[in-house]
Amino acid sequence: MRFRGGHNVLLKGRPDSAIRVMPEPKVLYLPLRSERFTFSDIQVEEGDKVKGGDVLAKDPDNHGVPLLAPRAGTVRLGAAENHIVLEDIAQSEEHADMVEEEMQHIEKQMGVAGINRYKLLSLGAWQFFYDAFTGELPDPLGTPQAIIVSTLSLDPFVARGDVQLHRRLLNFTRGLEQLQSLLEYQPIYLAMPNITSEFANLIRNQIRGYAWVKMLEKPLKYPFDNFAILARKLGFKSSNGPVWAVRTEGILAVDRALTLTKPCTVRILSIGGTGVSQPTHLKVVPGYPMQKIRDKYVFEPAARVLNGGVFTGGILTEEMLGVDVECRGITVLPELQEREFLGFIRPGWDRDSYSDSFLSSLRKDFRERLTTGLRGEGRPCVACNYCEEVCPAGIMPYLLHKYLYADLIEEAEQARIDLCVECGLCSYVCPSKIDLRTQFVEAKALIAKEKEEIRREQLRQEEARKREEEARKQAEENSE
């Protein structure tokens, strides 16, 4: 399998492989929004006492994926905007197994495979699943063409798979077995880095016994962990149905939900980046107060805190009081403070660049202290072709930019803007500092909206036609 493009940015502050347990919190702030979900259907009331694993809210647009209470506590709804606050936290009580009657009822309705899917959804494991092509939450009752499992997380920085797998290899393989029980004959692809570390070998030896797991070795280069790229490289077409994709934490959650029937409410997330005093991994529950993490790890006075990695993450504003249910890492970048004097004629020994225009290209790889600086002025495109060379999706970013600049949405669509995986590398390498990724994200959203409108319009017309026909028939009957 051949990959094209890609580029690794070596950012200072790589999280080490330890997992630190944060002290138990007194209050939890559970955000009602995360990257994919909006938990608008609130299931509890002010002052309710909940147990760990109880459903606090559901997302009606995403197959009713639940927001689970990670701990027992008292619900406060109005305490913070867009958050459910849990006070008087106690760890001891955990939500018991699912009620027997309920289970039997579901089993009658959906069969054994159905009950497993129901467990995944209601115990919080389903939220770790992605549709490889769209990145959305797949339908838990659907049938995938295949499942892609990836242990890689290459965006700097999000929680790494090898760290999470440490000492939990058995859970991982058991999780894979459980996952297989959901399928009939569809294969599971396990994407692993092709490094020869002892640990990687250990996993490979473990997996070799499972004939239904196909190993897929890939280079450690951003963004080859992207599910859409993997699905395309494996030859799947989005028109043939969904391909499920899941990362290490998802497999561990599947194991917990199906083997132990326990709710999955613990997250491992990384904290790293230039502005972090001790880059590492943290074990927290969703809703963990963000301020506590900031106090302990962020030392830069003027820093941008990101939810996710530097390439795709969003800015974590002060309004976000707690860790959300999808958070995989917190990256801290110092804001640009000083303006460099005659920066463009410096030899650039300490500047890591995709191009070879700096002296650092004679140097071995090193980690650079990067800030949020744009590092240049915005200019028109000079057609240097770097964006196309680096693009992992094989599209032509400069061409799409040209089309979008001239408002030629249809042409951009034909040039397959939909294949863009939004990895952000084109924006990163552009010497004219054009924000290509944002343009593409916006254009894709616009195209999706237009398509939805067209679909609705067609439905409306069809209905109108049907009604007309009926009316005509009725009129005919009446006249007869």
Binding site: F344, F358, G376, I395, L419, D435, T438
Partner: protein
Amino acid sequence: MKWLLNVIEKVRPTFEEGGKLKAFHPIFGALEHFFFAPADRTVCAPHIRDPLDLKRFMSMVIISVVPCVLAAFYFFGLRFLAMIIVSYAAGLTVEAAFAIVRKEGINEGFFVTGILWPLILPPTLPLWMVGLGVAFGVFIGKELFGGTGRNVFNPALVGRCFLALAYPKAMAASYLEPSHDLAGRLLTWVDGSTADAVSSATPLALAKQGEMVATSHMFLGSISGSAGETSAILIILGGTFLLMTRVANWRTVAATLASFLLLTTALVGGNRASYDMHGVLGPAVWHLFAGGLLFGAFYMATDPVTGPTTNAAKGIYGIIIGSVTVLIRNFTGYVEGVTFAILLGNIVAPILDEIVIAIRIRRLRSEG
């Protein structure tokens, strides 16, 4: 350098909206950003950016022509400095005027044109022609199309083409026999009026009359020709640097030179062109080093804006430039054809891109 930043901050209001000199904001901005990197920050993902910007990109080209510039000083004297100054002054005036009218920043692209321009001129050309040519090139070749990044033709070559057609006699008479002293003409001023100036024909012009200059001289550069184009070895040196930094694409250069060598060899081997030289490869290599071919291939054809963008089109573009040069040199009244060949290449570049892009989009259609 805090004091300089303070000065800049102090005068800034004069050039901002509402200030007295707000029309000159592009010039102020260019100066400010020459000294200090911009303070802009990213606003959304990706939150970090590559250190390469257009200033650095263009500086690489300027650094790579330093050997040629030094050689021009050595062979043709201090007058070359005056040519550089006139070139920058005239060109920047046009550039700045357009920046003010368009209310855009002054683009770095001109700094490359300004240094490449005197290098492709005969060394004793009257200075007013130097100024006129570059102003014409920047105005017609670049600004009318919308400035750097939107121009179709290489501005320096448009200027040269203009001079060659408008003042053919002055151009032909301005070539100078280089100094053969060890010290060269490092500190001397030589122009058309100086006694020691010997106007001499270029090797390509001599070849038309059947007189062949030794290949070794052309390799080192002690021949008559445009100021920066005489020394093959220094052009290859600077050009290799440019290829190594990946600012210039190797495909264009390789395709140009390879197609040129191949076609010349074929012509000489097939007795379609004969030179007073032994063997088949001899005249081909001689032609490779003669005139502006190497300079054009390394510095002019590789201009990312006027050349094609896609890699496949770059190869075809190079082949067109290389072979058209051979055809002009051997079968037309002109002794040198690189300028015309590259301008012709500029014309076809967008079409080549269209074709390659159409093929790629057709292939993309079946993906995912």
